[in-house]
Each structure stands twice: as structure tokens, then as C-alpha cells.
Symmetry: C2
Subunit: 131 residues, 2 copies
Amino acid sequence: MANKPQWDLIAEAFVNHYYSVFDTDRSQLATLYRDVSMLTFEGTACMGASAITQKLVSLPFQKVRHHVVTCDAQPVLPESLNGVLVFVNGDLTVDDGAQAIKFAQVFHLLPDRNSPGLFWVYNDLFRLNYG
Amino acid sequence: MANKPQWDLIAEAFVNHYYSVFDTDRSQLATLYRDVSMLTFEGTACMGASAITQKLVSLPFQKVRHHVVTCDAQPVLPESLNGVLVFVNGDLTVDDGAQAIKFAQVFHLLPDRNSPGLFWVYNDLFRLNYG
């Protein structure tokens, strides 16, 4: 762990938190987005914490469980913004389905200037990968 | 087409060009990266046009063909940089293999200040998704 770049640690902590909230009560994800945040979910774009949360809450399943297989991260220009680009590949299961579905998701995280150590989502792009 | 945001058009043009070059002569991809560019390929990180091209050229196949299934794009902060975040999901076949392999790739593109309309790759993250 000691040799991991800081952005890898930020990405892993964020991703663990994000999917934990998603799989428990996804209405609570609103706090991780802002008015300028963007989500492109399976090709459908929406903007702002409220619209994004509404989109996520309206997805047609009751239970969901994300399993992260890989989580890659890189720093994003400009350095002054301290952004982190996160690329997740994993599996998800919905409503006790036996078959996991592969997904890939991209987050561009920016630090919360009022809460050191916390990050919010500026860009979010999600795709299912049917097998 | 007329209603597509500009970043979608930029993303599609870039992606078509990138994979066309990749599948024809991937040593020529060097022109699309710079010294500060980053590639994380299947979890292995390298930096700079030279190291990135060396990594791509050394991949253990002679022929490769990328087929783009989805290409999503969003603008990236700060607006002054005019960056574009691109998220590609697709299939690739290598060396006349009958079985296509799914892949997902993320590009963060920045405009070439000396060549209006051209973009270079700042961030590049690539993962295969075995079925």
C-alpha cells in the first residue's frame, strides 16, 4: 500500500464508499454530486445532483450489488484542481439474479474544498457489458 | 447529427481515427500522445509518448481489429482547457481469432493549441473484459 500513488488510494476509497451507498440506499448518492455534475448512463445524459439521483433511484430493480474487479486511477490536468480519473470494471447482480452482469464506469472526481479528503463526482459514465 | 453536442462529435472523430491507426500501424500512435500523457493498460502504468508507443507496439499480436460498440463523451473541467472525456466500449479480435474480446477504454483528450481541431491524449486507461 505504501508505494501506491495517492490517486489510487483516493480512487479505491471513493469507489468502496460509492458502491456501498449505491447498494444500501442509492437515494443517498445525491451528496456525492453537484449541480454541474454529469451522468451518462447507458447513453442517456443528465446533469445535476437532483436529476442524477432521480435517474439512479428510478432504475428498475430493488436490490443491487456491485462487485469491483479492477479500479484504475490517474491524476487529471490541471494539477491545481487535483482531480482524479477513476476507471472501474466489475460485475453486478440485481434482485437476487443468479447471473452477474459486467459493467464499466468512469468517474472524474474533484476535491471538496470545504471538506479536505472528500471528493465529489464531476463526470460519471456508466455502461453495462452484456456477455 | 446536428443536435449532437460538440464533444460527442470530437469523441467520435478521435476514436475512429485512433483505432484506424491502431489497427493499421500502431507505431504511428506516438503523434497522439505527449511527454505528460499517461497510459494504464491492463493495470500497468506508463508515461510519455515514447513509453506508451513502445508498450502498444510490444503487445503480443500481429493483427488487431477494434470494433466500437458505444462511444460516450462529456466535457471536462475547467472549461478553459476544453478537454473531452471519452468512454469507449467495444470488441476486438487479434490475429484472425474467431472470438472477439470485449474491451473498455477511457480517453481524456485535450486540444492541440497549435493545430485547431486536433486533440491529443492526456489520460488513457484500457481494460479487457473477458466473458
